[in-house]
């Protein structure tokens, strides 16, 4: 084969490779992308179902991955709505602005973080300080809390979880920004809320935290107080809505600036009475 032939071959190969990649780039009618907090995924899916049933139109795609993943997707422009169970950090906002993304926050529901133990556990109530000591490794035995001589197995969510970050900031660091407390290295990092539920159900020495929506009667929820003076409160619709339960948080939507019409119409549905009824049905706390 002479060099002409080789050149021709090369051109053919190059063309094929280009065609191959070009085929992957074509995109049809885009669905609204909703991505982020694993705590909110089930809720968002329920909203999606309700919305699509009501309007028979726009397709929505809901993905989990954690609040951080939602922010990352919002910043890189691959999602329309980021689901978040914590507020966006200053650092993330700066990074977003650098990429010409301007996050806009909107509260869509409330949630209480439930501290759960095995039903056979005698402990009834804890203060935030005691919880912090457990998760930083200062208290390692149930005896120190008036229980039997058993090692405490502390369970946390993974670092990609908004619940992890929220618990870190409001419990482990006692709500103080500058506090140097960290989760002890010995704390087990579980990949999902369901994994925490499974371990708590089968392990009498375990203590973990989950969203209100994951609580069922196979675990025991502890009453929590800000300090020893109380009051010790259990999380339920009322205490969380009134923000009296000490570890309550807002569930948030983040969009890039003012959203386009079809995204806005979904947000309007979420805030409507029908949308807030879905919140209650999914065991979270409505804002209205």
């Amino acid at each position: 084969m002479n060099w002409h032939g080789k050149l021709l071959d090369l051109a053919v190969v190059a063309l094929m490779v280009m065609l191959f990649f070009a085929a992957g780039c074509g995109r049809g009618n885009k669905a609204i992308q909703v991505k982020g907090s694993d705590t909110m995924v089930n809720l968002a899916e329920a909203w999606t179902e309700g919305y699509m049933e009501k309007y028979q139109a726009n397709a929505l795609a809901v993905t989990g991955g954690g609040s951080g993943a939602g922010f990352a997707a919002l910043i890189s422009g691959t999602t329309d709505i980021a689901l978040a169970s914590r507020e966006m950090h200053q650092k993330e906002i700066l990074l977003a602005n650098k990429r010409r993304v301007f996050p806009k926050e909107l509260q869509v529901a409330s949630d209480g973080i439930v501290v759960v133990v095995h039903p056979s556990n005698q402990t009834e109530r804890l203060t935030i300080k005691q919880l912090s000591d457990i998760f930083t490794g200062k208290i390692t035995n149930w005896r120190a809390l008036g229980g039997p001589d058993r090692k405490i197995v502390a369970l946390s969510r993974e670092r990609n979880s908004g619940t992890h970050v929220f618990f870190l900031e409001s419990v482990v660091k006692l709500g103080q920004k500058k506090n140097p407390n960290e989760f002890a290295a010995e704390v087990l990092m579980m990949p999902s809320s369901q994994a925490i539920v499974e371990e708590v159900v089968s392990n009498p020495s375990a203590i973990g935290y989950i969203g209100l929506g994951y609580l069922n009667n196979r675990q025991k929820a502890l009453a929590i107080a800000k300090d020893e003076n109380g009051p010790y409160l259990v999380p339920n619709l009322r205490t969380v809505k009134e923000k009296r339960y000490p570890i309550s948080r807002s569930l948030l939507f983040y969009t890039n600036g003012t959203p386009e019409t079809r995204v806005q119409s979904f947000i309007d549905y979420v805030l409507s009475p029908a949308g807030q009824a879905v919140v209650k049905k999914m065991d979270f706390v409505p804002i209205k």
């Binding site: 071959d9 053919v12 490779v17 993943a69 990352a72 993974e158 670092r159 979880s161 499974e198």
Partner: protein, 293 residues
């Protein structure tokens, strides 16, 4: 016209042929580009030998020694479990089992390879972890050992099928010679066949290790993921792969956490590259030796 079709098909095959190499190079390039960026702000030694993994603290700490040791413990445990079992079952399948049972066993072992790792992880979390907790009286069953046992199951099919191949490729004359000299069947297996197949066995072990080191989903679910320096196989560990899987979602692209996860990817790449290299070396040596004889 036919000539053109011929030519196009030729090119298609050519592309498929070099495609995998191109993709490996692209992946390597991307991995290096993203991962090496970390070392403009973090010392390489502080990264490899640091003992604290707190990637989202202020200031973050990126020490992956606990993660490397975590992967090492899980892998060692899996090898200790899977290798004797693998050699034993390969010997049984290749040398001892009658024809019909051989086929049944072989497809059974292949079926083991078809179980998705997340299913094994789920079984592990629901049955194995509570079981280990009760037997060893541990605070929690989510330990390196749980990961090792599950990964041993995953490595078994690779190990068994490669060892079985290498046993089958031991020349028949060896076997006959040994038996003719009055050796028993066990003596033949132990003194003649195993040494003759040793290269294949080593290669199988290395490839099994490669499978275990890279496995993610099952270890993420059942090893507890606590980034401590493990001193026993009955402690929870956090592996390299599980760290990437668990934290990639959170890492904002362009942050040092994101670069650190890619740097872990480089470490994993280097490890599995070395393992494959060693396995290849043993496989080739075995082939050459058998050819010579």
């Amino acid at each position: 016209m036919n000539k053109w079709i011929e030519k196009i098909i030729e090119k298609l095959i050519f592309i498929s042929g070099i495609g995998s190499i191109v993709f490996v190079l692209l992946i390597l390039f991307f991995l290096l580009k993203e991962g090496l960026a970390l070392f403009s702000s973090v010392n390489v030694f502080a990264f490899l030998f640091g003992t604290n993994w707190y990637p989202i603290s202020e200031p973050p700490q990126f020490g992956i020694l606990p993660l490397i040791l975590g992967s090492l413990w899980v892998t060692l445990g899996a090898v200790v479990i899977a290798v004797p079992l693998g050699i034993g079952s390969a010997l049984y399948v290749a040398e001892v089992a009658p024809g019909w049972l051989k086929e049944v066993l072989k497809s059974g072992i292949e079926l083991l390879a078809a179980i998705p790792s997340i299913v094994l992880g789920f079984i592990g979390i629901a049955t194995l972890a509570p079981f280990l907790k009760n037997i060893f009286n541990l605070p929690s069953g989510l330990t390196a050992l749980a990961g090792s046992i599950m990964l041993a199951f995953m490595a078994m099919p690779t190990i068994v099928s490669i060892i079985e191949d290498s046993i089958n490729s031991v020349p028949k004359s060896y076997r006959e010679g040994s038996l003719a000299l009055g050796a028993t069947r066990w003596q033949t297996i132990y003194r003649v066949i195993l040494p003759a197949a040793s290269s294949g066995i080593l290669a199988a072990i290395m490839l099994g290790i490669g499978r275990v080191v890279g496995e993610t989903m099952a270890v993420l679910m059942i090893t507890g993921n606590a980034a401590i320096l493990p001193t026993s196989i009955l402690q929870p560990v956090r592996t390299l792969t599980a760290t990437i899987a668990a934290e990639m979602g959170e890492a904002v692209s362009g942050s040092s956490h994101y670069y650190a996860l890619f740097a872990i990817g480089i470490v994993l790449f280097v490890i599995s590259f070395l393992i494959n290299l060693v396995a290849d070396f043993f496989l080739n040596r075995g082939k050459k030796r058998n050819r010579k004889r």
